[in-house]
């Protein structure tokens, strides 16, 4: 399912006071099946952009298209309901939204509300629990008796159970240990590939961008500063400096070696094994 922004502007209104446009004239089209990383500095409008996709924040001008559905300033209830069935949203610290008495009830909440039959719900709950790598033994446990990492998996399973076409992820790995973080992200990437979903990932970690995303969308003060493929984006050194965006660790080390040795490697290294291979190929080690 394609996601398209057409001259979208948005802000937050607090009583009579409006903040300056948090989202300022965004025009971008994310094709079906792509995995896009959304990056930018704190306050650039990343989370606001995500909220626009399922109508939690309505545009003050312009339109957001999700598949064949259009969200505009009116925010018609009927359309928003349809959009929300298609868009699965994993917020920052999603474990904060667990509420039910058992893991099973918590995961089933979405499917039941979206009109799945009992049979379908049961299957959806089991499938998604399996996808996030939790055992069915946990179904009758209280979600609050689980560890932080497990709670996060349950919360994500709840989203997957509704079988969305668009998956929206806001820092899904924050606060997990490096191992747990890798597991969650690889699991989400697998799900993305299997379902041919359109996925948006907000992250601050450029190594995650390099490892999981196809494209990068950079936001700066509510505008799109850049939208291109991951390899192209990180290859453009001067643009990265201009936007004050970090490099993934392997590339940062590559640039450092290049500078000290006064050479340029022919390829951009996005992962550790790429860097090792490039160093060997250019006979630097």
């Amino acid at each position: 399912m394609q996601v398209r922004f057409e001259h979208v502007r948005a802000d937050y209104q607090l009583g009579p006071i409006r903040t300056a446009n948090v989202i300022n004239d965004i025009n971008v089209e994310l094709p079906t099946g792509t995995f896009t990383a959304i990056i930018g500095h704190t306050g650039a409008g990343k989370s606001s952009l995500l909220k626009l996709i399922n109508g939690l924040l309505l545009p003050t001008a312009g339109e957001v298209h999700v598949g064949g559905l259009t969200i505009n300033a009116n925010g018609e209830k009927k359309i928003l309901n349809q959009v929300r069935k298609r868009v699965g949203m994993v917020f920052q610290f999603p474990e904060a939204q667990l509420f039910a008495e058992t893991v099973e009830q918590d995961i089933a909440f979405g499917p039941i509300n979206f009109g799945f039959t009992q049979e379908q719900t049961k299957k959806a709950v089991r499938d998604s629990l399996d996808k996030v790598g939790l055992s069915v033994d946990l179904l009758k446990r209280s979600p609050f008796s689980l560890s932080g990492g497990q709670q996060r998996r349950v919360a994500i399973a709840g989203i997957m159970a509704t079988n969305p076409d668009v998956l929206v992820l806001d820092e899904p790995g924050a606060g997990l240990d490096p191992e747990g973080r890798k597991k969650i992200l690889s699991m989400l990437k697998c799900w993305h590939n299997e379902h041919k979903a359109t996925t948006l990932l907000v992250t601050h970690d450029m190594d995650d961008v390099a490892t999981y995303a196809d494209d990068v969308l950079v936001l700066d003060h509510g505008r799109v500063a850049s939208y291109q493929s991951v390899r192209q984006f990180f290859g453009d050194e001067s643009r990265l400096n201009e936007l004050a965006i970090d490099m993934p660790e392997p590339l940062r080390v590559q640039r450092r070696i290049e500078q000290e040795k006064g050479i340029k490697l022919s390829q951009v290294s996005l992962t550790r094994s790429e860097l090792a291979a490039n160093l060997i190929k250019e006979q630097l080690v």
Binding site: Y12, L14, T19, I39, H41, T42, G43, K46, S47, Q92, F93, A96, S147, G148, G149, E171, A174, G175, L176, D177, P178, E179, G180, R181, H204, D205, M206, A244, I245, D246, E249, P250, V253, R256, I257, E260, K261, R272, S273, L275, A276, L279, I280, L284, V285
Partner: protein, 271 residues
């Protein structure tokens, strides 16, 4: 005063549920000297956050004792000792009180009965340190995740506590601002002789510390300088440069033996 222990933990054990044998912490002992930066690392569920909650007296140890400034932490002393310890949690939403950024930072100071001018100086100073001074009139709930975290850090900086605890307090920041903020903290830590205990998953943050404490399943399994720890414990994910050295070695390249920092590795490649 340098060198005297500011925090010492002796034989600390804790269970959330005393009916089970599930120890969140068991027999943990260590000492942190004034002016030191110590980092606690370990996987989710290893007891890191439990340790922080015990040190600020949010939960009581089942066994063992905690000394802050050589004074034992108990029901009677905890109110006084808490003035000496500041903690920043992982999710800043959990600790906002004020209606504006500056009110929120001032909240802790109001409880200390400071005079108005002193309070104003400290609030502004702290906000400048974390680069949030221009946002001082904003409503904290309208800020982004990373901005909120900076305000929460300012709130603790303003208190100028003897011991600052950061429980994953930098996870919401982008790497660049995290590195900058850590640099700022390292500077003020030296200048004000602050003692910092940071609980972290971030390898870069861990390598900044003077000493590392490694927790695993509630036990303190190792303690020492970061380099020594990464060298001795191959199952702890080391900083990137060391990972690269190991990968090159695995591919049959002749690399120097033993742990290497990034500077050492780059120097070796560019030799």
């Amino acid at each position: 005063m340098n060198g005297s222990p500011i925090l010492s933990v002796k034989d600390l054990s804790f269970r959330y549920d005393i009916r089970t044998d599930d120890y969140a912490l068991s027999a943990v002992s260590f000492t942190i000297k004034r002016g030191d930066w110590a980092a606690v690392i370990g996987d989710n569920g290893s007891g890191k956050s439990t340790l922080a909650r015990l040190i600020v007296g949010l939960v009581e140890p089942e066994q063992g004792s905690i000394f802050i400034n050589n004074c034992i932490l108990n029901e009677q002393s905890k109110w006084d000792l808490r003035k000496k310890v500041g903690i920043v949690f992982q999710n800043p939403d959990n600790q906002f009180i004020g209606t504006t950024v500056q009110d929120d930072v001032a909240f802790g100071l109001e409880n200390l009965n400071l005079d108005y001018h002193e309070m104003e100086t400290r609030v502004f100073q702290a906000l400048k340190l974390v680069d949030m001074y221009h946002f001082r009139d904003k409503d904290p709930s309208q800020l982004s995740g990373g901005q909120k975290q900076r305000v929460a850090i300012a709130g603790v900086l303003a208190l100028q506590p003897d011991l600052m605890i950061f429980d994953e307090a930098f996870v919401m920041l982008d790497p660049k601002s995290r590195r900058e903020l850590l640099k700022v903290l390292k500077n003020i830590q030296k200048k004000l002789n602050l003692t910092i205990l940071s609980i972290t998953h971030d390898r870069e943050e861990a390598t900044l510390a003077d000493q590392l404490l490694v927790l695993s399943a509630g036990k303190l399994i190792d303690q020492g300088e970061p380099q020594a720890i990464f060298q001795k414990n191959p199952d702890i994910e080391p900083p990137f440069a060391e990972q690269l050295r190991q990968e090159l070695k695995g591919k049959g390249i002749e690399v120097p033996d033993g742990y290497m920092t990034e500077d050492e590795l780059v120097a070796w490649i560019c030799r």
